[in-house]
Amino acid sequence: MESAKYVSQKVSKARWRPVSSSFLQQPEIFATGSWDNEENKISIWSVGNYENSGLEDGFEGDPQLICENKHDGDVLGLQFLDQERIVTASSTGAVTIFRHHHNSQTISVSQQWVKAHHYPCDNAPCTAVVCSSPEIITVGEDGRIIVLRADQDCMAQVIENADSSTIHAVTYLRTTEILTVNSIGQIKLWDLRQQSNSASQILSLSGDRVPLYCIDRHPNQQHIVATGGQDGMLCMWDVRQGSMPSSLMEAHSAEMWEVHFHPTNPDHLFTCSEDGSLLHWETSSHSDMPSFLQGSRNSSVTSRSAMALAGGNQSLISAWLNGDSSKSRLETTHMLPSQTLSVNSLDVLGQCLVCGTDGEAIFINKQVPV
C-alpha cells in the first residue's frame, strides 16, 4: 500500500539511509532534496513503526519530518556518504556535504566545494553525484568529472572536458572505474587510475543518439549495466561485450529519470519516469535448465542477445541480458496507484521503496514484493 505525503516542495531526489548490516532491519530514515523552489531544502524524514496498534496492516504512518536545511540551488544529486553525512549536487555547481547530528536532530553544512562545476564565465549545474566513502565523484553540465575526498578541500582529480555534452549520471563499475552517460547517448568508461582525459571505452546505441539520463550497475554481476534515457527505453548492456546494448525494452512513454537494481535481490529492477509511472521489473532468475548443460547448439539462439557461451566456464547467463525474449520471463508492474506528475527519483532498500514526484508528493511502500 502506498501512502502519499504532500510536502509542499517538488522532490527531485529521495534516498534511504543505509541500514547497518543486520539482515532483517528495514530502513527507517530517508532524505529528500527539492528543486524549483525559491528556497530549496534538503530534508530528513522518518518512517519508524511507532503506534502499530490500530493501523490496518500494510498502511504505515505518514513519514515525519525530522529536520531540514536550506540548500542553495536545485538538488540534482543526493547520496548518503555514511550514516551521518549526505552529499548533494546543486544546480549552482556546488557540491556540499551535510551532516545529520543525531542527538540534536539537526542538519548542517559540513563541507562545501562551491564552484566545483563551472563554465568560464558562469555557473554550471552539477548533475549527479556518487560516492564510496570517502571518495566522491561528481559530474556536471560542464562536462567535467571531479573526484573529491571528504575532509579534504582540494580536488583529488579533475578530468577537464571529459565530454563535449552534458554528463547526466555516473556510477561505479569497479572501485577505480566509473561509467558516465551523456546527452549524445554514449556510455563512457573511465579508469581513474590512468590520469588521462579520454575514456577507456565508449559504448553507444547505433542509429538515433538518444540522450541517456540514468545508469545503474548490477550489484553482483558487474558487467551488467542498465540505462534509461529520453525515449523511456530500458537498455541492458554488457560492458565486456562490444559496444552495443544487449537488450532494449520499452518501458515508459517519456524520459526515464532513474533506474535502480534492487541491492540485495537483483532480479528486481525499478524505473521511474517523467510520465508519472514507477515500474517494478522482475525477471525469472535462471532458465529452467542451466545453460552450460544445454550444449553448443544454443550459441546462436536469441536475436537480441549477443552472448556466446564462453567455453562453458561461464555460469548462468543473466536473464537481464536476454531481455524480453522467450528465454526469460519479464514481468512489469506499476507501483503507483494512479497517474501523477513526473516521478523524479526512487530508492529501494530491503522491502521499502520511496519515491518523490513533481506533484510535491512522496510515496512510500514498505511491502515491496521482492
Binding site: Y6, S8, D74, G143, Q186, R209, E274
Partner: protein, 630 residues
C-alpha cells in the same frame, strides 16, 4: 460595462513616500510599482531606487496551503477523465465522492494549519477561517446541487451538514461527562439543549437519564420526555415508508407533544418545558437560544427539523430568507451569509460570483464550478469574452498558478482541459518559464512536445543551444539542435568545429564527431564535418584508396563550405604524391575539373604545384590502367 460590485480595497505601498506619484506595470499575477516624478523633461533630482512587487494572491506561497493546490490538482485530473458516455444518474455517486475528496483535502489542510497555528498564530488564523468558510459552502453545495436530495432526505443531509460544522458541542459534552457529577455541571443543560437543537435525540436521552437519576421525584416527567424523544419519527430514505406516510406519522407525533405541553406535563421543570417547546418548533424559544445556535443557518435547519421535516428543495429559500431575517437583527449580512443564502436559493451563479469577490484566490470557485459543470448544472451562457464560465475561472486560476516558480507544472493540466483558450494560454506562458538547468528545460520540452507545440520546442531548444555554444559545449548544443530538428543551428555548430580545426589543425571533441551516426544527416554542413573527420581517420589508418574516394566525393558533392575548398585540395596533395597511384584516371580528371572550377575564385592560389601533381598522377594512372588489361 459592468458596475463595480464592491468598493475596491486600498493597499498602501510602504516603500513609496506619501504624496509621491506612482508608476506601474501589469504583470501576469502582480503589479510592479515604482515611485515616479512624472515629469516630461528637465532635471529630475533624486528618485527612489526601488521597484515594488504587489501580489494579490499570497496564498500560493504558503507552504501548507500548497498541499491544497497539489492534492486538488490530482483530484481535478481524475475528475476530467470520467467518461462522458455514462448517463449522469450513474455518475452521481462518483461526483459526490469527488466532492468529498475535495472537502477532505480542505479539512486536512485546515487541521494542519490549526496544528501549526501555535507558533504562527495570527498568520494562520485568517487562513483557517477562510478554509472553514470554504468547506462550509462547498459542503452545502454538495448537498443541494450535486447530491440534490429530494424532500425527506434533504433535511437529513442538511442536519449532517450542520452537525459537521458545529463540533464544539462534542467538546462541551466531553467536559461535562468527564466531571464528577455531570448532571450538575454548569454546561449540562447547554449540552442537552444543543443536542436537541441538532436533532441528536439519542444523545439527549442518555444525558437526560443522568438528570433523571438525580431527581427521583420527577421520574415520571423524565420518563415521559424520554418516550416523546424516542418516538420522534425520522425519515428513512432506504425504507419502504413513503414521504406521505412519514408526514402523517410525524404530524401525529407533533400533536402528541403539543398535547403534553398544553396540559402542563412539564410545567414544573423549566428546562424540560423548553425542550418540549423546541420539539414543537417554537421559533421564539429557538431565538432565545441564539448563542447555542450561533448562526442563522443552524437556526434554519432546526426550524425545518421541528416544523417542516418534509421540506422540498424549492421551498428552502423561503425558510432561509425568513430565518436569516429573524436571526440577524442587525440586518447586515456578512459575505458568507449572502453566499449561503444564494445557495439555498439555488442560484449557483450568484454563489460563484460572490465567492469570487470574497476570496482572493480563484482556487475554490474554479474547482467548484468545474465539478458543477461536470454535473451539468451550469447553464452554458457565454461570457463577453468568448468562453464559458467554467473555462474562464479555470484559466484565471491556472494563470495565477503559472506565476508561481514551482506550481506552474500543475497549471499545465488545467490549461489542457480548457478546450477553447487553454492551448493559447499555455503557449504564451510556457515560453516564459525560466530555464536554469537542463533538467528543467527537458521537462518543459516534454510538455511542449506532447502537445505538438513545435514553435515553442524550437524556441526553447534554440535558447538552450545558444547558451551551450556560448559556454563552448558544442556537444550539448548539437544535442539540442537534434531535438528541435534545427538544421540551421546544426550548421552553425559544424561551422564552429570547422573553424576550430582550421585554427588548431586538429579536431576538438572527437568523441562527438566520431560518433555522429545518423544525426549527421540533419544538416549538410554536419554531414561534411562527419565525413571529413572520417577522411582523416581513413588517412590515419592508411586506407588511402578509401580516403581518396571519400575526399573526391566530398569535393564533388558540393557540401563543403567555400572556405574549405582550398583545404580539401591541399589534402589531396599528399595522396597524389604517394608512390602508389591512388587516384584513378577518372578521378584525376574530376580533380582537375574541380581545380579549374575553383581557381578563378582563388586568384592568389598557387595552382602550379597542384597542376603538376595532378598531371603526373594522370600520367601514372593512365599507364597503370592501361597495363592492367593485359
Amino acid at each position: 460595462m459592468e458596475e463595480v460590485d464592491v468598493e475596491p480595497v486600498v493597499t498602501n505601498i510602504s516603500g513609496i513616500r506619501p504624496g509621491k506619484r506612482m508608476g506601474f506595470a501589469w504583470g501576469p499575477g502582480d503589479i510592479l510599482v515604482y515611485e515616479t516624478q512624472n515629469k516630461a523633461s528637465g532635471p529630475t533630482g533624486s528618485g527612489c531606487a526601488f521597484i515594488h512587487v504587489v501580489r494579490k494572491d499570497e496564498d500560493i506561497y504558503s507552504p501548507i496551503l500548497r498541499k491544497l493546490f497539489n492534492e486538488s490538482h490530482h483530484i481535478f485530473v481524475g475528475l476530467q477523465t470520467i467518461k462522458d458516455d455514462l448517463p449522469s444518474k450513474s455518475k452521481k455517486p462518483q461526483f459526490v465522492s469527488i466532492s468529498r475528496n475535495y472537502r477532505s483535502v480542505i479539512r486536512a489542510c485546515m487541521e494542519e494549519l490549526q496544528q501549526a497555528a501555535g507558533e504562527l498564530l495570527t498568520k494562520y488564523i485568517h487562513h483557517v477561517s477562510i478554509l472553514l468558510a470554504i468547506e462550509l459552502i462547498w459542503n452545502l453545495c454538495e448537498v443541494l446541487f450535486i447530491d440534490a436530495a429530494p424532500a425527506g432526505s434533504l433535511l437529513l443531509h442538511l442536519l449532517d451538514w450542520v452537525r459537521l460544522h458545529k463540533s464544539d458541542v462534542d467538546e462541551k459534552a466531553k467536559g461535562v461527562l468527564q466531571s464528577d457529577s455531570p448532571a450538575e455541571h454548569r454546561d449540562y443543560w447547554d449540552v442537552v439543549l444543543s443536542y436537541v437543537l441538532q436533532g441528536r435525540l439519542e444523545d439527549t436521552r442518555k444525558m437526560l437519564m443522568k438528570q433523571a437519576m438525580l431527581q427521583p421525584a420527577a421520574k415520571s416527567m423524565y420518563k415521559l420526555m424520554d418516550s416523546l424523544l424516542s418516538k420522534m419519527p425520522f425519515y428513512n430514505p432506504g425504507g419502504t415508508q413513503t414521504l406521505t406516510e412519514f408526514d402523517v406519522k410525524w404530524r401525529n407525533w407533533h400533536e402528541e407533544v403539543d398535547r403534553y405541553l398544553k396540559d402542563n406535563s412539564f410545567a414544573s421543570n423549566q428546562h424540560l418545558e423548553v425542550i418540549c417547546k423546541i420539539l414543537l418548533g417554537d421559533e421564539d424559544v429557538l431565538l432565545e437560544h441564539k448563542e447555542l445556535l450561533s448562526t442563522w443557518y443552524y437556526f434554519l435547519i432546526t426550524r425545518l427539523l421541528y416544523c417542516h421535516p418534509t421540506v422540498k428543495p424549492t421551498e428552502l429559500h423561503y425558510y432561509a430568507q425568513s430565518s436569516m431575517m429573524m436571526f440577524l437583527d442587525s440586518g447586515v449580512p456578512e459575505p458568507l451569509d449572502s453566499i449561503l443564502l444564494a445557495a439555498f436559493e439555488f442560484d449557483i451563479h450568484q454563489v460563484i460570483k460572490d465567492c469570487s469577490i470574497a476570496l482572493n484566490n480563484w482556487w475554490f470557485v474554479a474547482h467548484l464550478t468545474d465539478l458543477l459543470d461536470h454535473c451539468k448544472l451550469l447553464q452554458s451562457h457565454n461570457l463577453h469574452f468568448g468562453s464559458n464560465l467554467r473555462e474562464f475561472l479555470l484559466l484565471e486560476y491556472a494563470s495565477g498558478l503559472f506565476t508561481h516558480h514551482s506550481l506552474w507544472q500543475c497549471a499545465v493540466d488545467y490549461f489542457d482541459h480548457c478546450p477553447e483558450f487553454g492551448r493559447v494560454y499555455l503557449e504564451l506562458q510556457i515560453e516564459r518559464v525560466p530555464l536554469d538547468t537542463e533538467r528543467k528545460a527537458l521537462k518543459v520540452l516534454r510538455i511542449c512536445e506532447e502537445r505538438q507545440m513545435s514553435e515553442q520546442v524550437r524556441s526553447i531548444c534554440k535558447i538552450m543551444a545558444m547558451r551551450a555554444v556560448r559556454n563552448n559545449r558544442l556537444g550539448s548544443a548539437l544535442s539540442w539542435s537534434i531535438r528541435a530538428k534545427d538544421a540551421a543551428f546544426a550548421t552553425l555548430i559544424s561551422e564552429r568545429f570547422l573553424q576550430d580545426y582550421c585554427a588548431k589543425g586538429t579536431f576538438s571533441d572527437l568523441d562527438l564527431i566520431d560518433n555522429l551516426g545518423s544525426t549527421m544527416l540533419l544538416s549538410d554542413r554536419l554531414t561534411f564535418l562527419g565525413k571529413y573527420r572520417e577522411f582523416h581517420k581513413l588517412y590515419g589508418e592508411k586506407c588511402f584508396s578509401d580516403a581518396a574516394k571519400l575526399l573526391l566525393s566530398l569535393m564533388t558533392a558540393k557540401i563543403a563550405p567555400q572556405s574549405f575548398w582550398m583545404t580539401l585540395l591541399t589534402d589531396a596533395l599528399p595522396l597524389l604524391e604517394q608512390k602508389e597511384v591512388i587516384f584513378s584516371a577518372e578521378q584525376t580528371y574530376e580533380l582537375m575539373y574541380c581545380l579549374e572550377d575553383w581557381t578563378f575564385l582563388f586568384h592568389s592560389f598557387n595552382t602550379n604545384q597542384t597542376q603538376l601533381a595532378l598531371a603526373r598522377n594522370l600520367a601514372s594512372a593512365i599507364v597503370k590502367e592501361g597495363t592492367m588489361q593485359t
